[in-house]
Symmetry: C2
Subunit: 212 residues, 2 copies
């Protein structure tokens, strides 16, 4: 099963399954049919069956899916059962917002440190996590076995900082800067382009006005 290549489209839907199953669990639901899940998630039941078949199914005919089992299996597939040590580069509002999302911890997200270039922030803490200066980065990444850096800085310095991160052994970059990074192929970059999303919202609103 690990050997199969799973399409990016399927993978991009897994977090949403995981989110819905988590809500079902919280609501005390023990099993759910693909048609009921389909109604809630607004995707077709056959899509759900196809997607989950990529991972061996989990469902039993006429019984439905065991919510707890499916939730934890998808969690394992996503790698949420492992600890991921993270630093945040940029201790501004966005960096602090991410540091304050307690819910991330359930996914194995462990925030070890925050970094900034503003000397006034040196030594301050966000939820017990220290804000360090960039010259401490190299040693910090080694000592704390950091795998991921969240990049919450303006785009001006993002490329330069991303290169420094990679040189220091960071394997994954969660990029919030409004720029696409060019990095070696073995570095995983996941972009959250907030401004792209805003433009799509504007477009959809504008094109709707035309059709009304």
């Amino acid at each position: 099963m690990e050997d199969r290549t799973i399409s990016r489209a399927v993978i991009s839907r897994l977090p949403r399954y995981y989110r819905y199953l988590g809500e079902l669990l919280n609501a005390g639901v023990e099993r759910i049919s693909s048609s009921e899940l389909s109604k809630r998630m607004n995707v077709t039941a056959s899509q759900i069956r196809q997607d989950l078949n990529n991972f061996g199914g989990f469902g039993q005919q006429g019984y439905g899916y065991n919510v707890q089992y499916l939730y934890s299996e998808i969690g394992k597939i996503l790698g949420l059962n492992k600890q991921h040590n993270v630093i945040i580069i940029g201790a501004g509002n966005l960096g602090q917002a991410i540091a304050n999302y307690e819910a991330f911890e359930k996914s194995g997200f462990v925030l070890k440190g925050m970094f900034d270039i503003n000397p006034n922030l040196k030594g301050k803490k966000v939820r017990g996590v220290p804000i360090c200066m960039m010259d401490e980065l190299k040693q910090f990444v080694k000592t704390h076995d950091i795998e991921i850096a969240a990049l919450t800085i303006p785009k001006t310095n993002a490329k330069e900082v991303a290169n420094i991160l990679v040189q220091n052994g960071i394997k994954g970059i969660w990029n919030f800067a409004h720029i696409d990074l060019q990095l070696p192929e073995d570095i995983v970059v996941e972009n959250v382009h907030i401004s792209d999303s805003l433009m799509k919202l504007f477009y959809r609103l504008s094109s709707q006005e035309k059709t009304i």
Copy 2:
């Protein structure tokens, strides 16, 4: 041209074109060939030509694209040449991060107000924009002709607040809460599911480890 239906896939790529063209403009580049743009954006030249043909082309054979013209035309298509009045619901770190993104203003984003339920925030200002209480919402939306609300609150109250927004005439919701909203079809919802993106990053890192 306005009558054609443009696929969501093309639309989802437009903000990225817009971002790259903006960078080219800032760098003083006046024209660019589709092959050069293709190299920079890491998509095929034929994809670029196809995408831009949806809007009538803009390119001239052997000359390339006029960067300024293409930038401003895509801007118009996205509706960035119009003013969009926005409120932010939730004046925490994430709400304040969005309020502080000056670059959004170039896209026609005009922040008129912020709302919260924390009475200690009442009357405070972020970049000159007042933080109001939720009971002021109805009057505020009318008075300031608000089109869009950014929802930067925890998922617990997100559905309820989204319904209140729609009842008060909001047409578009920029949703940062970790939940999918069920709203009438004429309401445009654009989600920024930060936690889904984090899970994709974890997945890609975990599956890479397996293959190395």
